[in-house]
Structures are given as structure tokens and as C-alpha cells.
């Protein structure tokens, strides 16, 4: 097994063993989906109209929650130094780590979006489009959250900093994912472009965020 593979499998194992895998964020996502109607009120039309937005918003919030932990532990327990001095280097190590983390933790997001869509009164087709949109957007959202997590690693109130830093950067992905679901629901025929844009945004985040994260953490080491 290559060094990259070793990092990947180890971080996968740590994400499941130490953090419980997808259980935490999924539960948070579910809680957000359950609370929102209580806040918004029981009116069915309002709920349906707000549905795709609320679901995409809940998914975004769920990516913010674990972001604090991704790197702050490594920063405080000295693991970061070990990765930085390893032959693989910091940037690649963190890329593999983040990839493993996201795979372990966020594979439930589209599932929850589909179920949530049905619960909020969307038809099966639109709920599926929404779920697809979030399947495309979730990795990007999570990578941006990880970037913010790298910037805030080990700081006080890291959770808040992360939200504040990541939210503006996540806006486009949020807009497109929710837009795809809403377009399908309203029959405007614009779900295709929205899905494409979500995918493109996600790929861009995937390509750029690890370097940002590595730069931020390297700054911390120096």
C-alpha cells in the first residue's frame, strides 16, 4: 500500500472509530430538518415553497459542524508536525485526510435530502433532483468548510469563525443546489444548468481548498 493509501485508510478508520463516522452530522442534519418546520409554522404551502432551500441550508450547516475538529486536534496534539516532516508533505497529507473524512462522514447527505424533500411535500422526481444537487454540492461544501477549519484550527470560538469564513464562500454552491430542487419543483426546466454549476463549483472547491488549507496550516506551524 502506498503512503497516500495508508493515510487514507488511517483517516477513514479514525473518522469512524474516534468520531462515529456519519452518525454525528447526519443526526445534526436530521435535527435541523425536524426543527425548521416547527419554527416556520405548519402552513403546507410555505413549507413546500421553502423546502428545497431549508434542506440545502441544513446540509450546509451539517458540513460546518465537524469542520472544527478536522484539523484542530491534529494541530494541538502534534500530528501536523509529523505530517509536515513526512515524505508525503503537508498539502497532500491533508488532501487525503480531508477526502477520507468527507467520504466517511457525508455520504448520507443526499439520502437525507431525498427523504427530507418528500417530508416537505416535494414530489419524488423533484426530491431526486434536489438529492442529486446535494450529492454534487456536498463535497465542495465540505471542502470549503475544511479550509475554514484549517484557518481556525485550535483557536477559541473556532466553530463561529468557521461559519463566518465558510458561509460566504459556500454561497454559490448553496444557491445552485437549492436552485436545482426548486427548478424541478416549479417546472422551470432550469435544473440542468443548476446541477452543472453545482458540480463545477464543487470541483473548483476540491481543486483549490486543499492548497488553501495546507497554506493556512503551514502558517500555523511556522
Amino acid at each position: 500500500m502506498s503512503a497516500l493509501g495508508a493515510i487514507f485508510t488511517r483517516e477513514l478508520r479514525l473518522a469512524f472509530a474516534g468520531g462515529g463516522g456519519p452518525a454525528g452530522p447526519a443526526a445534526f442534519n436530521l435535527a435541523a430538518l425536524a426543527l425548521a418546520p416547527l419554527a416556520i409554522g405548519p402552513d403546507a404551502d410555505t413549507l413546500q415553497a421553502a423546502g428545497p432551500g431549508v434542506i440545502a441550508f441544513a446540509a450546509l450547516l451539517a458540513t460546518l459542524q465537524p469542520a472544527e475538529r478536522i484539523f484542530s486536534e491534529d494541530a494541538s496534539d502534534g500530528t501536523l508536525e509529523l505530517y509536515a516532516l513526512s515524505p508525503v508533505g503537508l498539502a497532500l497529507s491533508l488532501f487525503m485526510k480531508t477526502l477520507a473524512f468527507i467520504l466517511a462522514v457525508f455520504w448520507t447527505t443526499p439520502l437525507l435530502a431525498f427523504i427530507g424533500g418528500l417530508a416537505y411535500g416535494m414530489d419524488v422526481g423533484s426530491a431526486f433532483v434536489l438529492a442529486l444537487g446535494l450529492a454534487f454540492a456536498a463535497p465542495g461544501l465540505a471542502f470549503i468548510a475544511a479550509f475554514a477549519g484549517a484557518l481556525a484550527a485550535g483557536l477559541k470560538r473556532a466553530g463561529l469563525l468557521i461559519a463566518l469564513i465558510a458561509a460566504p464562500l459556500q454561497v454559490p454552491l448553496l444557491v445552485f443546489a437549492a436552485g436545482a430542487g426548486r427548478a424541478a419543483m416549479d417546472g422551470t426546466g432550469l435544473e440542468g444548468p443548476n446541477l452543472m454549476m453545482a458540480l463545477a463549483g464543487s470541483l473548483a472547491a476540491l481543486a483549490l481548498a486543499p492548497f488553501g488549507a495546507a497554506a493556512a496550516l503551514k502558517a500555523r506551524l511556522e
Binding site: 483557536l155 470560538r157 469563525l161 460566504p168 464562500l169 444557491v175 436552485g179 427548478a183
Partner: protein, 247 residues
């Protein structure tokens, strides 16, 4: 050129010379521009006197965006060349930019009430300005949260540059968002074609805001430099006391 001004001594001399001028020129420009804009310029035939908000609102909007470009640029310079002055500039620019963004939001919302019958509309332009304001807040929060100065500078630079990349993206995506929803009551601003009687005071106000911005940033930079020097003195006092304790 960078290394020429990167010398703190030289910059300090330059700043000390410039700062009174900046404040003075800004004061003169406002002394001319404000009465002209708020009193002497004609009211609009559609919007009557509310149009006067424009003379504050539009320059503030421009400067908020201009300042973010400055923040990103200074951060880039710091990140590549590690000039401390660039970081100082970035730290000084952020609050100024945030204040301009806030002024733009506040005046826009005051203007929106009579014009649209709502304090706020979730329109592309407004939302992107709000996101810009959030970027400023995030930057300042991050800088404030990191105690170590060098660390804070580097992390802040990374964030500011990331936000820079995202600035046009926000614009585009929000355009997308708008055109996607015909059903929405999207506000269309077919504003008054600007007439010379309005353009002049607007130009003067914009210039005034720009010089004010310069004055704010330079003053802040000098204040921070002096703070740094005071800290260095404190460190030296500490060392002396420690050596005395050793003896």
C-alpha cells in the same frame, strides 16, 4: 518600489507628512460636496429628495469594493514577499472597508423603504454586498482570534486571497440565482440617467470618500506601528528585569 516603501522609517515619514493633508483635503471635499449634494443639487423628478441618499450610498458602495481589492492585494504582497507593511495595510483596510460596506447597506436600506416599500429585498446586488460585509467580518474575526501576530498575518492573508477569488463568483452566481426565478419579484432599478447637476456632487463626494479612506488607513497604520514599538520597548524592559533577577 515595494522594497522602497517597505522600509518602516521611510513609510513613517511619508505617512506623517500625508496624514494631515488627507484629513484636510477630505474635510474640504466634504465641506463642498455635502451641502451641494444635500441641498443645492436638484431633487429627482421621480424620487424627489430621497435621491440625495445616493451621494453617500454610491461612494460607500464603491469604496467597500475598492477596499476589498486593496485588502486582497495587500494580503497577496504580504504572502509572497512577507513585507510587514503590507500586513499592516491589510489590517488597517479591513475595518475601514467594513464600515463602508455597512454605510452602503444602511443607506441602501433607508433608501429602499420609500422607493420599494421594503427595507430590504433579496436582490443580487444587495445580497452580494451583504456577503462582502460578511467577508470583512470573517477576516476581522479571524485576525482577532489569533494571538500570535505572524500567524494571524499569514492566516488572514490566506483568507483574504480566498475571498478575492470568490468575489466575481459571488457576482455571477447571484446573477444566476436571479434570472432563474422569473416568478420572483425581482427589483429592477431603472434609475435616473445621471445628469451633470448630479454627477458633479457625486464625483466630489466619491473623491471625498476616497481621501477619507486613505486618511483612515494611513492613520490606523501609524497607530499600529507605534503600538508595535511600544510592545518592543516592553519586551526590552522585561529582558532587563529578567537579567537583573538572574544576578
Amino acid at each position: 518600489m515595494w522594497s522602497y516603501f517597505a522600509n518602516p522609517e521611510r513609510f513613517d515619514r511619508l505617512a506623517r507628512a500625508l496624514i494631515p493633508w488627507c484629513w484636510g483635503v477630505a474635510a474640504v471635499l466634504f465641506a463642498v460636496g455635502l451641502p451641494w449634494a444635500l441641498y443645492f443639487s436638484p431633487g429627482d423628478y421621480q424620487q424627489s429628495d430621497t435621491v440625495r441618499i445616493m451621494y453617500v450610498h454610491v461612494p460607500a458602495a464603491w469604496l467597500a469594493m475598492f477596499a476589498y481589492a486593496g485588502l486582497g492585494g495587500a494580503s497577496f504582497v504580504y504572502f509572497i514577499w512577507r513585507h510587514n507593511l503590507a500586513d499592516l495595510a491589510a489590517r488597517a483596510i479591513a475595518p475601514a472597508g467594513a464600515v463602508f460596506a455597512f454605510i452602503c447597506l444602511a443607506t441602501g436600506s433607508l433608501w429602499g423603504r420609500p422607493m420599494w416599500g421594503a427595507w430590504w429585498v433579496w436582490d443580487a446586488r444587495l445580497t452580494s454586498m451583504l456577503v462582502l460585509f460578511l467577508l470583512y467580518l470573517g477576516y476581522m474575526a479571524l485576525r482577532g482570534a489569533i494571538e500570535d501576530e505572524k500567524l494571524s498575518a499569514r492566516a488572514g492573508a490566506v483568507l483574504a486571497m480566498a475571498g478575492l477569488i470568490n468575489l466575481p463568483v459571488i457576482k455571477f452566481s447571484v446573477d444566476w440565482w436571479n434570472t432563474l426565478h422569473q416568478g420572483a419579484s425581482v427589483f429592477r432599478f431603472d434609475g435616473p440617467t445621471i445628469d451633470a447637476s448630479q454627477l458633479w456632487p457625486l464625483a466630489i463626494m466619491a473623491l471625498g470618500f476616497t481621501v477619507l479612506y486613505l486618511a483612515l488607513v494611513l492613520t490606523q497604520m501609524r497607530a499600529m506601528m507605534m503600538e508595535r514599538r511600544a510592545e518592543a520597548l516592553e519586551r526590552r524592559r522585561e529582558r532587563r528585569l529578567e537579567l537583573e533577577a538572574e544576578l
